[in-house]
């Protein structure tokens, strides 16, 4: 999701179809302004230059299911 302009209804239908959800026209009309609201917010996130050192996804092999986290 990116961009600050309102999404067209056709593009929005395509986006919803990608989720494999079946929504009524009424539900799509309700959801579209909500999508536009969050699209504006996520655009600000993608506008940030966080630098290569800000890793988001980490993997700690010592921590397995049922294995307690220290601290």
């Amino acid at each position: 999701m990116a961009g600050s302009d309102a999404i067209s209804i056709d593009d929005f239908r395509l986006l919803v179809a990608r989720t494999r959800l079946t929504l009524s026209d009424e539900q799509i009309e309700v959801l579209r302004p909500m999508y536009d609201h969050y699209a504006r917010l996520t655009a600000t996130l993608h506008g940030l230059d966080l630098g290569a050192e800000d890793l988001a996804v980490t993997f700690a092999p010592a921590v397995a299911p049922g294995h307690a986290v220290e601290g």
Binding site: L21, L31, T42, H46, D54, A56
Partner: protein, 467 residues
């Protein structure tokens, strides 16, 4: 013995001494709360399930144990209630959703089991926003709790019943859950104390999830010392929840009255006190006064900078709704009609974020975490308003209502830091305002100490709604 009209106003701190000294019977106390629920809950709508017979039976057992000299501690014989997403063996647990309307767990949540083992008496299960998201949705099919300070106003959410029940004297303490402010928000709006402990301090086993990396469990109580009593019982490692910490649990009451002389309190004014028409001036004025009280008690209040706070409001919903969609997507496809309108639309929104959105939000979270860690090398606590606004009117509530105002609570869900809300005044129209204090991970003792010092210096926690 005190009259029934007074019993529902007792704090745990006050009641536990009477119970231990056998001046107050757990049966009498429990009956007083059941009577209160009978008289007031038609209006307040805090409970989904009231366990009158079970509660009285447990109270008789508690009384017999105490009479035999087997007093278990501060929660023994204390009537409490749980948000209806904590599993209770043999008792329906719905998360205020038709999807779980007939679900009866075969096992207690770890927190439920720990509270039962402490001797607490379970009065019942409390209403909430559906699946801990959305809002007071008349289409969800479950009760919509009302703010006891003015029933035309919302009590906050998602632990709405948990806040209402404590504030209105329908239980002595409750558990809520918090993904973006769902303990501190109802606490602030209902004029009670709400504590979101450090991520990993309290087990979430047997608690219906909303977003795994943001969900926390914690208590709502009338007083700070009662919050410490509740935390003492529910905190600690749980082999059934691999996200829980193995570190030793301290005595949360031990240093609570040690005062705050010399404590350093940071205030990121650029975020919490900014000139923004979406932030209530009444709220800011009450919290500004509270900061003065903390200074008067010997703390130093300094301005700090946490630049990434400006982006927390964009990152938090991406994380929360993406994870919630992952949990609910099968039901969204197979049983969409069983969701209420508010929760369904928010969950559907979670499916529309991209993987790039989610990862970028996690990266922002990392930076926010690092900035707070640096700031907490120079200050002991962060202070702010709990909510950017007082409670809104019920008839104006929408699923997006909270999303359109700055969230002052969700940054601490993203970082996992502990945070508490304590009552710090009222708006001119008589609605409660909360002061939020956040601290270093696992430093609940300092948060409780500061909140207690503030509470002892102010009258707000003694005010009860006239309901």
């Amino acid at each position: 013995m005190q009259s029934a009209t007074e019993l529902h106003h007792l704090t745990i701190q006050a009641a536990q001494g009477l119970i231990e000294e056998r001046q107050l019977s757990p049966v009498e106390l429990t009956q007083a709360f059941l009577d209160r629920i009978e008289q007031r809950d038609d209006t307040l709508q805090a409970y989904i399930t009231v366990l009158a017979d079970d509660a009285l039976s447990e109270a008789r057992i508690a009384e017999a144990e105490i009479t035999r000299g087997n007093y278990k501690g501060p929660l023994h014989g204390i009537p409490i209630a749980l948000k209806d997403l904590y599993d209770t063996e043999g008792v329906r647990t719905t998360a205020s959703s038709r999807l779980l309307a007939d679900r009866v767990p075969s096992e207690d949540a770890t927190t439920t089991a720990r509270l039962k083992a402490s001797g607490a008496i379970l009065l019942g299960k409390l209403a909430m926003h559906e699946f801990a998201l959305g809002g007071p949705d008349p289409t969800c099919g479950f009760p919509l709790p009302r703010n006891p300070w003015n029933i035309e106003y919302v009590p906050g959410g998602s632990s709405s019943g948990s806040g209402v029940a404590v504030a209105a004297g329908l239980c002595m303490a409750s558990l809520g859950s918090c993904t973006g402010g769902s303990i501190r928000g109802p606490a602030s709006h209902c004029g009670v104390v709400g504590l979101k402990p450090t991520y990993g301090l309290v087990s979430r086993y047997g608690v219906v999830p909303l977003a795994w990396t943001l969900d926390h469990c914690g208590p709502l109580t009338w007083s700070v010392e009662d919050s410490a009593f509740m935390l003492q019982v529910i905190a600690g490692h749980d082999p059934k929840d691999p996200t829980t910490s193995t570190r030793a649990v301290p005595d949360y009451s031990a240093s609570i009255a040690h005062g705050i002389e010399g404590l350093r309190i940071g205030v990121p004014r650029h975020f919490f006190f900014r000139d923004d028409p979406r932030i209530s001036k009444d709220t800011l004025a009450a919290v500004e006064t509270a900061l003065g009280v903390l200074e008067g008690l010997g703390a130093s209040v300094v301005e700090i900078e946490v630049p990434m706070l400006e982006y927390s409001g964009a990152a938090h919903p991406v994380l929360m709704l993406s994870e919630a969609f992952s949990y609910h997507q099968k039901n969204l496809r197979d049983r969409p009609q069983d969701f209420g309108d508010m929760a369904r639309s928010r969950f559907l929104m979670g499916g529309l974020f991209s993987s790039g959105d989610y990862v970028q939000a996690q990266r922002v979270r990392n930076v926010l975490n690092r900035e707070f860690a640096q700031v907490l090398e120079t200050v002991d606590l962060i202070a702010s308003p709990t909510m950017s606004n007082p409670p809104g009117r019920f008839d104006e509530a929408t699923s997006m209502g909270n999303s359109l105002r700055p969230s002052f609570t969700s940054p601490f869900n993203m970082t996992g830091m502990p945070a508490i809300s304590v009552p710090c005044g009222f708006t001119p129209s008589g609605l409660p305002v909360g002061l939020q204090l956040a601290g270093r991970p696992f430093d609940e003792p300092t948060i409780l100490r500061a909140a207690y010092a503030y509470q002892q210096a102010t009258p707000w926690h003694t005010r009860r709604p006239n309901i």
